[in-house]
């Protein structure tokens, strides 16, 4: 089986960019990824573009072709991907599958999104869904899990806040993060209450931004001048997408889909939780990081609060989580987030992460989750990268 190689990455600072468009942000990072890979536009033979909200917010469609045309990539198959927060991870999985199938040798994955716009309102899982019509806004789904986690496991408000404090500390070291100022448990807990017990600083900020990667077959990577064993030879050990079972009743503290996807990712990558050096995961809300750490096997179920409190997931700890700052500090341009997670892992594995470098990182794991249906998630992506 062909093992795809990530040979180029492109990133821009996330934040409020009212003067930028989805297309020009996407073009900026796509160009950066091409230059990083040392490829010409005509070397790309397939493209996947990830975006969630442009149709709803701006009435746009098929934007990927516009983005890629801006960087001289045309004629080839281009697919626009929407899968809520996992859109970027889904696009990456499709790119890897195209390489494994031998349909393409070099594939461009771009995610670009604008959510720092006044017309957004609260994110939900789709306006026509019954849950949405009964008030299930995104922070409420996570808050319900937080309340039950606190009741069942004794998880504390302070432990929730520590996730935000940690990821802000990490974000302070990342030039691409939206929030770079440190915060404290007191400041997190005294920020305005959004949905009990999640305060504003426990909810990821809306942001504008884009990220891109170029993934290639091993043969194409060699022709681009890379060799296995180089720090820049970042191979894709697993890239998968799971969807929910929607079984009822759901255990809201253990997304079965999360555990199932994690187990499959470890199996395909031929490794386990103890082998992972650096993790990027879906901390859209603080409780999310706690529950996802449990699903990934970084700690036993129920102990995600203790894990962050122990410092194990801080830069310098046993298994640093969201050293980029995560969604909480980097910001969450929905369709760009999954790709940005991969950019971070590639920079970490190459040893190019600067002040936030995880020393000697060899295996990185990215987890993302998106959409909500019957108490389950609609999509969960896992990517394991290694060098």
């Amino acid at each position: 089986m062909t093992t795809p190689v990530v040979i180029g990455v492109g990133m821009m600072p996330f934040g409020k960019h009212p003067e930028r468009t989805i297309v020009d942000m996407g073009a900026e990072v796509a160009r950066a990824a091409l230059l990083d890979a040392g490829l010409a536009p005509t070397d790309i033979d397939m493209g996947f573009f990830s975006n969630v909200l442009a149709g709803r917010l701006f009435g746009d469609a098929t934007i990927g072709q516009n983005v890629l045309w801006e960087v001289g990539v045309n004629r080839i198959p281009v697919v626009n991907v929407e899968n809520a927060c996992t859109s970027g991870g889904t696009a990456f999985m499709l790119a890897c599958n195209a390489i494994k199938a031998g349909e393409a040798e070099a594939v461009m994955v771009v995610g670009s999104e604008k959510t720092a716009v006044p017309q957004l309102g609260l994110i939900n899982s789709g306006q026509t869904e019954l849950d949405t019509q009964l008030g299930l806004v995104a922070p409420a789904g996570f808050a319900l899990r937080a309340c039950r986690h606190m009741a069942d496991y004794g998880t504390t408000l302070e432990q929730l806040a520590l996730v935000a404090v940690k990821n802000r500390r990490h974000g302070s070291l990342n030039p691409a993060a939206m929030y770079r100022q440190l915060t404290s448990v007191e400041e997190v807990l005294s920020s305005p209450m959004i949905v009990d017990p999640l305060t504003r600083l426990q909810c990821c900020p809306n942001a504008d931004g884009a990220a891109a990667v170029v993934v290639a077959s091993p043969a194409r990577a060699r022709r681009a001048g890379l060799l296995p064993g180089d720090p820049r030879w970042v191979s894709v050990r697993a890239a998968l997408l799971a969807t929910g079972s929607y079984e009822n009743p759901q255990d809201l503290l253990r997304w079965e889909t999360d555990y199932r996807a994690a187990a499959l990712a470890y199996e395909r990558a031929g490794l386990g939780p103890a082998d992972v050096d650096v993790v990027e995961l879906h901390d859209a809300f603080t409780i999310g990081e706690i529950i996802h750490c449990e699903a990934l096997g970084l700690c036993p179920p129920g102990e995600g609060g203790l894990l962050v409190q122990s410092g194990a997931t801080t830069l310098g700890g046993r298994v640093p989580v969201n050293v980029s700052g995560g969604l909480l500090s980097r910001g969450h341009p929905t369709g760009a987030t999954g790709v940005a997670q991969l950019v971070e892992l590639v920079q970490q594995l190459r040893g190019q992460a600067g002040a936030r470098q995880v020393e000697g990182a060899k295996i990185g794991l990215a987890q993302c989750m998106g959409g909500d249906k019957s108490g389950d998630t609609k999509s969960c992506t896992m990517v394991v990268l290694g060098r």
Binding site: G121, L130, G135, V137, A140, P249
Partner: protein, 142 residues
């Protein structure tokens, strides 16, 4: 203000529309004739065997599995704050998401028994009021 009788329900086939104030509303689900389900909300086909499904009365009582209060700017013309939760139904092993009565926030806690109520609550996003199901604190029963 429009009377409840002239207000549209938020969805059809999800809850019974009681004829009068003394009849309690129930949630509605679906099951197939082979014994799969019930499912909530009622699916178009049985997801196990693809047979058609018939309506199942899921009753009107349950207990709180988890609940929370949404304090930020609410959607759909809801009051601020409003409450939501997952309710474990009494008559079937189903955990359903639903609105909770915002007038009894102080009485909500995990394990609390609730009963279904249907009434005008919020709008359709463009100002037209809608009937929505919400769980409220159950009266002590004899």
């Amino acid at each position: 203000m429009a009377s409840p009788g002239s207000i549209r329900p938020v969805a059809t086939g999800v809850f019974t529309m009681p004829p009068d104030d003394t009849t309690a509303p129930h949630l509605l689900g679906g099951a197939c004739d082979r014994g799969h389900g019930p499912f909530f909300p009622r699916p178009t086909y049985c997801p196990r065997c693809l047979d058609p499904v018939h309506e199942v009365d899921l009753g009107g009582h349950g207990t709180i599995y988890s609940y929370t209060v949404v304090r930020t700017r609410p959607p759909l013309g809801f009051p601020q704050p409003y409450a939501v939760g997952y309710i474990d139904l009494e008559e079937y092993p189903l955990r359903v998401f639903c609105l909770l009565d915002p007038t009894c926030l102080d009485e909500l806690k995990i394990g609390r028994r609730l009963r279904l109520r249907v009434g005008p609550f919020g709008d359709d996003g463009s100002g037209e009021p809608l009937l929505r199901p919400l769980f409220t604190v159950a009266e002590e029963e004899g």
